[in-house]
Symmetry: C2
Subunit: 340 residues, 2 copies
């Protein structure tokens, strides 16, 4: 039997012992957790400090993940490896030197934009997508050097095509679905997904209702059939799961995600004025304990055991293995390089 791993490559829950225990019940070996939306560097460090307290309090459940091997170690020790990511480049402010600093502190994914224009690229909600900026090119190069993955989940299409082109290492869209299935602004076109697959980049399928066909009423079968079609489009080896689980969050948090400090007006994002809060999750995916439902759904949809294992975590693990170590120069993360 193939050893298979379970990896969720995007969550932003209201973390608690309860949720960490549910990760264990669901058999999650690794979770990529969002630790910043609009936070600046110092605020992001405060969020890491909060995680450090959780690591200290619940060492039997979770530990900080840094490399692909930490996923294997999580499996061996019966715990969940937690990998940090940002949904916006706000933690690096206007300082390229912070790219290596946040990587040393554990960040492994950074979105170049969160819906809006950033210093680096254009978000998917701007009317005009002017592509990757001058600083964006420099920061992608530095992210490539240290091993911080470019994540374009919330970026505009042109910016995403350019990021795939500019980045010398494969990029990720950690949480989104194809527009052929559900034409949300946040979902991705066939052309873009094809380019992502051809560059060995990864797509994580989201279970966030606004990204789903029929929203909260989406069926597991429809979701898994969509995964099968996407595998045909971009390659079975380039897809995984990124649920975007926002469990137990109060609606004040979705306000923060959408409006940050950049507007004084109410911002509905993917919601509407009569559906402004977090939407209800589909019945087959309410928390981490349901992770195996997706696995079963894929089997029912006709995926082979090895393809199920690839989608549920094997592909992300391969991606982690080749993405998180620094390349070339001897950064803090891999000083061994220079001596080889």
């Amino acid at each position: 039997m193939t050893l298979s791993y379970n990896i969720d490559c995007l969550q932003y829950a209201n973390w608690s012992e309860k949720i960490f225990r549910q990760m264990r019940e669901g058999g999650l070996d690794a979770v990529h957790v969002t630790i910043a939306y609009h936070e600046n560097f110092r605020e992001t460090v405060l969020n890491i400090e909060r995680w450090n307290r959780w690591f200290e309090q619940y060492p039997e459940l979770i530990f900080p993940g840094r490399t692909g091997d930490d996923v294997r170690f999580a499996r061996e020790s019966g715990r969940t490896a937690i990998f940090f990511g940002f949904q916006n480049p706000s933690p690096i402010e206007d300082d390229i030197g912070l790219v290596e600093i946040v990587h040393t502190l554990g960040a492994r994914f950074m979105q170049l934009t969160y819906n809006n224009q950033s210093l680096l690229a254009t978000g998917c909600y701007e009317e005009e997508d002017s592509g990757v900026t001058r600083m964006g090119r420099q920061v992608i190069k530095e992210m490539n050097r240290v091993g911080l993955v470019v994540d374009m989940s919330h970026s505009g299409e042109r910016s995403t095509f350019e990021a795939i082109e500019i980045s010398e290492r494969p990029i990720a869209i950690t949480h989104a679905n194809p527009t052929f299935w559900h034409p949300a602004l946040r979902n991705k076109s066939d052309d873009l997904l094809r380019a992502l697959g051809q560059s060995n980049g990864m797509l994580g399928f989201s279970v966030y209702p606004h990204h789903l066909k029929n929203g909260s009423d989406c069926t597991l079968q429809s979701f898994c059939d969509m995964i099968a079609r996407t595998a045909d489009l971009m390659g079975i080896e380039n897809i995984g799961i990124g649920t975007d689980l926002c469990q137990d969050q109060p609606n004040s948090v979705v306000d923060w995600m959408r409006a940050g400090r950049w507007t004084k007006e109410v911002e509905y994002g993917e919601g509407t004025s009569d559906n402004a809060g977090f939407p209800a999750m589909p019945s087959w995916y309410e928390d981490n304990r349901n992770f195996s439902n997706i696995k079963n759904g894929l089997r029912t949809a006709g995926f082979s055991d090895s393809n199920v294992a690839a989608v549920m975590g094997g592909n992300w693990l391969n991606f982690f293995d080749r993405s998180f170590m620094s390349e070339g120069s001897p950064s803090v993360s891999s000083k061994m390089d220079a001596a080889e």
Copy 2:
């Protein structure tokens, strides 16, 4: 022949390629470098960013040191491992969570005070030494947990005795000399050094002229005889070198070290109004290339080969081995602990 290591456990030079090359010429396997005097957290991070650029520019000369094994790796690869330290707790501000953050970023030594009262303890220039503070007790405990060494080089005597007592791991005085040899305010009493030795703490002998008998005119023989007497006092296994080399620094830097942002008046520190700048180094120790002069001086003073090796780096390496890893809970630095 015993494999011997060369470690300088305190420098604050005006770093440059020239100095990194001199480290290699002097055979330094590891140097503990001061990266903050009065800097707050964000400023300290800027200083780490500057070091990251040097690591990127000069990978054949230096790399970031994190553990004792990095000293061995430095020897194997013909480079110098650089360990970060702070001369003041200002980088952690009033936030105990920053202790683990700075450790993750590479800090391995932190003085609880620099001459003045701090949030943690009393500096050696205050009239009244009220000992380790409430926050100081908490921070020592946290430093013990993550593997950040308590350094009391610039602290008052009562605070230092208390730090030795409170700390569950041996502490260090990285750069100072005994008062029996030269009664400077910064040098340490017999009683204190005896207590330091009995707790398996380390003393690094300073070559900074204000700490030397006869200042810049101090002879190598006098320095090495002092080391022999100190070995008798506190144990040959508890002493090493911490030169306090401030090579190529302009006098504006000694002003910053002394006055920081805490006074508007001129502060002479260990200097005087007619000797306000950096003092001239003794002729036998002007830069890293002279490290072997001390080795030769110790041999002449009658030290055995194994004792010379212990003082020149072996003792610091033992101390690094047992001091820099986190203990107990699975911090970022040693998540393996929990699984054992």
